[in-house]
């Protein structure tokens, strides 16, 4: 737990990260953090606190941030919880050997890290070259270009349309072992629950669901709260969360 608290001390500014890989990469490269020691719950709490401190309505952009965060959480879970995933057949993750998954994630992170270095170089280059101005487009006194087209073969038109009509190759899902149910599913579920009764306990409501589903459910909870549809109560950290319909 000592290590987990270190995660909280990181004071993660999630807005500053470009996506789950970005954040995950940063976490892993922090020397003091070993992946097995990362407490996912702590990261979730840090994230939620950040959301809570936000002013104003819950925008789609924030929802997107949540979605990316969720992918991160899922990736962490996958790395950490081999046994858990083995039990969760309905999530399709058992098809992927956990070791393979870890290696795949490692490769993808390494690839992302290289790309990030490229992006950094481009950024520096852009700054260094920002005092180079050139004209975009034709010169004011240039003759207008004549774009004559050479004769074309009509068969190319048919070929182009055949390409568009061709069945797409079956997409490889090997890179997407982490699928999760849509947030809307839980929005509806919680709204329905609050139509039946004034109050429910979140932990009971999601009991028996996979951790990924629970994470998505939690996200739905946050969205309802931001929209002012519900009120939340929790006596202490890690105690059950109570949910009321907002008056």
């Amino acid at each position: 737990m000592g290590q987990a608290l270190a995660v909280r001390d990181l004071d993660l500014d999630l807005d500053a990260f470009e996506g789950p890989f970005d954040l995950l990469l940063t976490l892993i490269l922090k020397e003091e953090l070993g992946l097995p020691e990362v407490d996912v719950a702590e990261i979730v709490i840090a994230f939620v606190e950040r959301l809570e401190r936000r002013e104003g309505a819950f925008t789609p952009a924030q929802l997107e941030v949540c979605g990316e965060f969720l992918v991160l959480v899922a990736a962490l879970l996958e790395l950490k919880a081999r046994e858990l995933f083995h039990e969760e057949g309905e999530l399709d993750v058992e098809e992927l050997d956990p070791d393979e998954a870890a290696l795949e994630l490692a490769e993808r992170l390494a690839e992302y890290r290289r790309v990030k270095a490229g992006a950094l170089w481009l950024e520096e280059r852009l700054t260094a070259e920002s005092d180079r101005f050139f004209r975009l487009g034709p010169a004011p006194a240039a003759p207008p270009p004549v774009r004559r087209l050479a004769p074309q073969d009509p068969a190319r038109l048919a070929a182009a349309l055949r390409v568009l009509a061709a069945e797409p190759p079956a997409p490889s899902l090997s890179h997407m072992p982490l699928r999760y149910p849509p947030v809307t599913q839980f929005l509806e579920r919680f709204r329905a629950a609050l139509r039946r009764r004034r109050r429910f306990v979140f932990d009971e409501e999601v009991d028996g669901l996979s951790r990924i589903e629970q994470a998505v459910a939690f996200l739905a909870l946050l969205e309802l709260r931001k929209a002012g549809e519900i009120k939340l109560g929790q006596p202490a950290p890690f105690e059950p969360i109570s949910v009321w319909k907002a008056a």
């Binding site: 101005f133 006194a141 774009r147 004769p151 038109l157 048919a158 390409v163 568009l164």
Partner: protein
């Protein structure tokens, strides 16, 4: 060497260099006031520097000519290079159409009139620049709207038939093996695009 150093430090020459820079990037003729404002110099000094440049960039001496045109000053090509410039701008497009242009043109040819949203749906990517490019080349043109107040629809032009050597739309290569009629073809393309998802 002495002379060059002198030129570099001369304020009028320095201003002239700034004006050269402004004129070479300008997308339109620039008025003296615009040049003065951008160069952070007085209009009178700008006129002096323009006089210097006019002597340097003139017919017979330079391939770049500073010309006073309606609304201000602009750099243009020297007349002696007119033939070369004509060869540059009138080169027939050898590569023909890009993949994006060809796909868009095929959709308009076989399914037209179609709107940009429909084209985008079938190709799986925004069609604005491809449509604009084909319009500019005169291969497609606007053809009414998609219902009252709807999106503009496009169809091919006579120039299109000329370029592709077609006497009429009925001479387009048959796609019977893909679909029975235009409507069926459209449905099939949209269905595939939805599965492709990109």
């Amino acid at each position: 060497m002495q002379r060059q150093l002198y030129l570099v430090d001369n304020p009028v020459d320095r201003l002239a260099r700034t004006l050269e820079a402004l004129l070479v990037i300008a997308p339109r003729p620039l008025a003296v006031e615009e040049l003065a404002q951008a160069a952070a110099a007085g209009a009178e000094r700008v006129e002096t520097a323009l006089g210097l440049l006019a002597g340097r960039y003139r017919e017979g001496r330079s391939g770049i000519v500073l010309e006073r045109v309606a609304g201000g000053y602009a750099l243009r090509a020297a007349r002696e290079a007119a033939e070369a410039c004509a060869r540059l701008v009138e080169r027939p497009v050898q590569r023909g159409l890009s993949q994006a242009g060809l796909e868009t043109l095929a959709i308009v040819a076989y399914l037209g009139p179609v709107s940009r949203p429909e084209i985008a749906r079938i190709r799986g990517v925004a069609a604005d620049s491809a449509v604009a490019g084909l319009c500019e080349r005169g291969l497609i043109q606007e053809s009414g709207r998609d219902g009252e107040g709807g999106a503009i629809r496009y169809r091919t032009t006579p120039l299109f038939e000329q370029v592709f050597g077609l006497a009429g739309p009925e001479e387009l290569p048959s796609l019977d093996d893909l679909a029975g009629d235009g409507e069926e073809l459209r449905e099939r393309l949209e269905a595939v695009a939805a599965r492709r998802g990109a």
